[in-house]
């Protein structure tokens, strides 16, 4: 399983005069649940639309499932996409949606889909528009998974769901990943549940890739140092991503391994995914990308990152 489910090289997309995405280079490996994270307007939907063939790049290129062009028959076959707002045809019943999806695709696991809907208690003959939001989402997800894709792409899947529906939805997605080896790429701007769900992280900020890598690697390569505020400016042993300082105490989020020596008088803690993500989002100039040069000092000077006064 060595292929990359999504591979982009210098990918850019311009709408009118604005670049929604620019110089996006990444390679999401298969067999992961990858979270695409960023503030609203960062370009997440654009990137996903480019990957599933709903939009054409303005610059650069993107391939999927190990080199296929997006929108090609093989790519359409192997990728199932559930867009934001879970589009289902409101005046078709769930049974109609199953029948529809079966007719529009080469492969469709009808028994799985029926069993799944029965398990969820979704009535087959009621119009989809009359189902609850969570049920519509599960319906859209069921027809997507019944296509037995190799890659499932979800655009802000849980944004409009209540907590129970959200949990059930993600449980379905992750079970499919566990059972069938489906790779998942999902976008979200909710950070709280990421650590539980994702093992690959891509952080988009203002249309550029800021962070890309396996979650374990990212967490292992960052530390939070707590120490005297007076020494914070002089710290230069490792690249500093973000500084938070009070009068006497400062926290530095640095790129360092777990066994790096800690300066005397300082304490080192591991960093959680949410804290890491927030720190990078506050520092648009910082980046953590895989590849050679990962451990080089970052372009910006240490000590100049923006500071948050407590």
């Amino acid at each position: 399983m060595n292929m990359n489910v999504i591979e982009a090289s210098g990918l850019g997309k311009r709408y009118g005069g604005t670049w929604a995405l620019s110089e996006c280079t990444l390679a999401i490996p298969a067999g992961h649940v990858a979270a695409l994270v960023g503030p609203n307007g960062a370009g997440k939907t654009t990137l996903l639309n480019l990957a599933v063939g709903l939009a054409e790049p303005t610059a650069g290129g993107v391939t999927v499932l190990g080199g296929l062009p997006p929108g090609s028959p093989a790519a359409l076959d192997g990728i199932a996409f559930v867009a934001q707002d879970m589009p289902v045809y409101k005046n078709l019943s769930a049974a109609d949606m199953l029948h529809l999806t079966r007719n529009l695709n080469r492969h469709f696991d009808q028994p799985y889909a029926r069993a799944r809907l029965a398990e969820l208690g979704i009535p087959l003959n009621r119009k989809a528009g009359k189902l609850s939001g969570g049920q519509q989402a599960q319906l859209a997800l069921t027809v997507a998974l019944a296509r037995r894709p190799r890659l499932l792409v979800l655009d802000e899947p849980v944004a409009m769901l209540d907590p129970v529906a959200r949990h059930d939805f993600m449980a379905t997605v992750l079970t499919a990943a566990a059972d069938d080896g489906v790779s998942v790429v999902l976008s979200s701007h909710v950070l709280a549940e990421l650590e539980r769900v994702a093992d690959y992280l891509i952080l988009l900020s203002r249309g550029r890739v800021q962070v890309a890598g396996e979650v374990d690697d990212l967490l292992a390569s960052h530390r939070l140092l707590t120490g005297p505020a007076a020494e914070a400016d002089r710290y230069s042993e490792r690249p500093v991503v973000h500084v938070r300082r009070g009068e006497a105490q400062a926290h530095l989020l640095v790129r360092a391994a777990a066994d790096d020596p800690v300066p005397p008088g300082w304490e080192a803690h591991p960093v959680g995914l949410e804290e890491l993500t927030l720190a990078y989002l506050r520092e648009p100039g910082a980046a953590a990308l895989p590849g050679p040069g990962r451990d080089r000092t970052l372009p910006f000077e240490t000590g100049q990152p923006s500071e948050v006064t407590r």
């Binding site: 449980a171 079970t175 650590e195 803690h269």
Partner: protein, 182 residues
């Protein structure tokens, strides 16, 4: 010493759940026969990495006797279905237990408990408790409050294990016990 109140440990939330009870597994209900004695829970707000919470819950179940050697740990897909967590996290936790020698995977069947935690004999436990009480008295006399004692202990514990295990488990120390630092 009551580990339940430890700040760094995953909460001891194991329960002797019945066969697959309560989880919204998507498997047909005919799989009840292969259920595990324990059921995992997740404390999303605790700050402890998920895989560590699972590891601690298994270790705690072993200590309390809910799990015995030969018992099967919950199937990966059942854990995923009920907790909505990444399958690789469960795999990582089970691998961690394998490295520690507590569990072993059988291909096609699942992961099974292999050994129990080394039991410490009762006299030793009593002696350890007495020396700990002495330390607590000294700390109290020096002016440390409860949180201060916990912080000091946790910090020393972490240093102790970092010295001992080095880089035995990649990321194991980095993701290790968190601290209750203000």
């Amino acid at each position: 010493m009551d580990i339940d109140k430890g700040t760094g440990e995953g909460q001891a939330g194991v329960s002797p759940a019945g066969a697959g009870g309560g989880d919204r597994s998507t498997a047909p209900s005919g799989q009840a026969a292969a259920a595990s004695p324990i059921e995992f829970r997740l404390d999303a707000a605790s700050g402890v990495p998920t895989y560590l919470q699972l590891v601690h819950q298994v270790e705690h179940a072993l200590r309390l006797g809910y799990l015995k050697p030969g018992d099967q740990l919950p199937k990966v897909r059942d854990v995923v279905a009920s907790l909505a967590i990444n399958p690789n996290t469960v795999l990582k936790a089970y691998r961690d237990l394998e490295v520690k020698g507590l569990a072993a995977g059988r291909p096609g069947q699942g992961t099974f408990v292999q050994a129990t935690l080394s039991q410490v004999a009762l006299p030793e436990l009593t002696a350890l408790r007495r020396s700990l009480s002495g330390w607590l008295a000294a700390a109290d006399g020096a002016g440390l409050d409860e949180d201060g004692m916990v912080a000091l202990f946790t910090s020393a514990l972490r240093d102790f294990y970092e010295h001992r295990s080095g880089a035995r488990t990649r990321g194991g120390a980095a993701g290790g016990e968190t601290e209750g630092v203000a």
